[in-house]
Amino acid sequence: MKTLWKLDYSQVKSGLNSGEFTPTELAESLWERIESVDPKIQAFLSYEKEFVLKAASESTERRKNGKPLSEFDGIPIGIKDNICVANMLTTCASRILENYRSPFNATVVERLLEKGFVLFPRTNMDEFAMGSSTENSAYQVTTNPFDTTRIPGGSSGGSAAAVAASMVPVALGSDTGGSIRQPASLCGIYGLKPTYGTVSRYGLVAYASSLDQIGPLSKDLQGVVDVYSVISGKDPRDASSRNISSYDPSKQQSLKIQGLKLGVMKMSSEISPEVAKAYSEVLEKLKAEGAELIELDFSKLGSAIPIYYIIATAECSSNLSRFDGIRFGSRKDLAGKLEDLYVASRSEGFGPEVKRRILLGTFSLSAGYYDAYYGRAQKARVLIRKEYEGYFSKVDLVLQPTSPTTAFKIGEKTSDPIQMYKADILTTSVNLAGVPAISLPVGKDSQGLPIGLQVTGPELGEGKIFSFVQALSSRIDPKVDLPDTIR
């Protein structure tokens, strides 16, 4: 029983349902794993062991009495620190929320609890989800389990590293411009950014509301599909939630690679040679199986990052205005004026990247600049959406590398914000268009670092993506083994 932590999501699920082990045995094994490797990885921000073991023991009791809440009862799941869990710390990896315990559950959390999932404490992230490396956390830098001198990607780097290092079988992240897919890619796991509006954002601390979407990260496809099926579906508490039912995996149809039309990209200098090679090898296999590869013109997506940064920062400056030191979060007590209290609380509570983005957003929304920046970016966003509509009139799915490079060194890009922003060059357009995309591992580079493939589908095309990934996974070996130092 000592090595239960090694199990992938599917093995965890079948082991619990067959009674091979109990939720408590599983949670204890994972906890031992966390205590042994997390000092190196630093994926978790808080350790509330009693909370976890109590939930696991309740699940064990339910299973013992033959009354599990669902087939998922007892499955451990890591929760990114920007998703509210009642009575647990929810800090968004920021000083301004360092003591904040949410009084309520996010809708996704409520849905997981209804099915009996065991919530593990909070995974590290870039502060308020702003970053591509998890170096912007106010508390700690998470490392990549494949090489602890490198970043795990971001902003859901804690969730990705926790799953990759077998500390939890599945975790939730949030994706605003690639924040689930890019770390999934750099950590050799699966990560889904669902269609905008299919997963409730109620209880997700907002960064950029029109782009944010919660999604799962897992070592296998099954974990992604199962968790998506639990968390998706209309939520009356989120006005942007779409009127759809939860995703039903039983209705998923199998898919033939033969005859499939796949949109592919021509390699550019921005893609590293090793990533390009792994990508080409996958395409060759698909071609050999009879898929039709159609080269698409992605040049219009080149403007996605500038559009993204204007829209995301404008929304962040508005969303983060609620952190004023008065109602919640940390407060700088001063004898001065109310205005001074706001300024002091915000200036000391937010880190440099968050301040930079608030300022850029405030600028693009300010009088005299609104039309030239925010207004124009909103229109330009439509161009991106229409571009994707054009792609999906020609092809079934779009295939690209997820990240232009494998994991880079800690500190390598921190001094140059533009270089850091470009880490998301292949993922941000998907958020602007609102369509779904998954990243799955397809190989590794000469240093043993994982390489991911991004599969993008049309709106509400999650089922198609899952069917394709399932078909593809049986033809390649998507597993990337951890180095001995972490194993």
Partner: protein
């Protein structure tokens, strides 16, 4: 475009953020780099985009106007930095 120190201070004021004098230089440098990068959207032709294009699937909904669960005073007190007798305490705002 490039932002100068005076405009940066004005924006910081609007955003309720303080930038210390030693931070101004590096901040301006980064900020202007980012601004020049995002300025590239000015080259895009957006003349064909109409208001109707902007919010295609917004489907925003409003809830019924009925009383629903809200936070209790005790819950608010549990996370408020300074909360007394049912009120958030702030520095004096009215001069007497």
């Amino acid at each position: 475009m490039n932002l100068n120190e005076e405009s940066l201070k004005k924006i910081a004021d609007l955003a309720k953020l303080r930038i210390r004098s030693e931070e101004v230089g590096p901040f301006l440098q980064d900020f202007n780099k980012i601004l020049n990068y995002v300025d590239t959207i000015k080259e895009l032709d957006v003349s064909s985009i109409t208001e109707d294009d902007l919010y295609p699937n917004s489907g925003n909904s409003v809830r019924h106007d009925k009383i629903e669960y809200g936070l209790t005073r005790q819950e608010i007190e549990s996370f408020a930095p300074n909360f007394q007798n049912g009120y958030f305490v702030v520095p004096k705002v009215i001069e007497t």
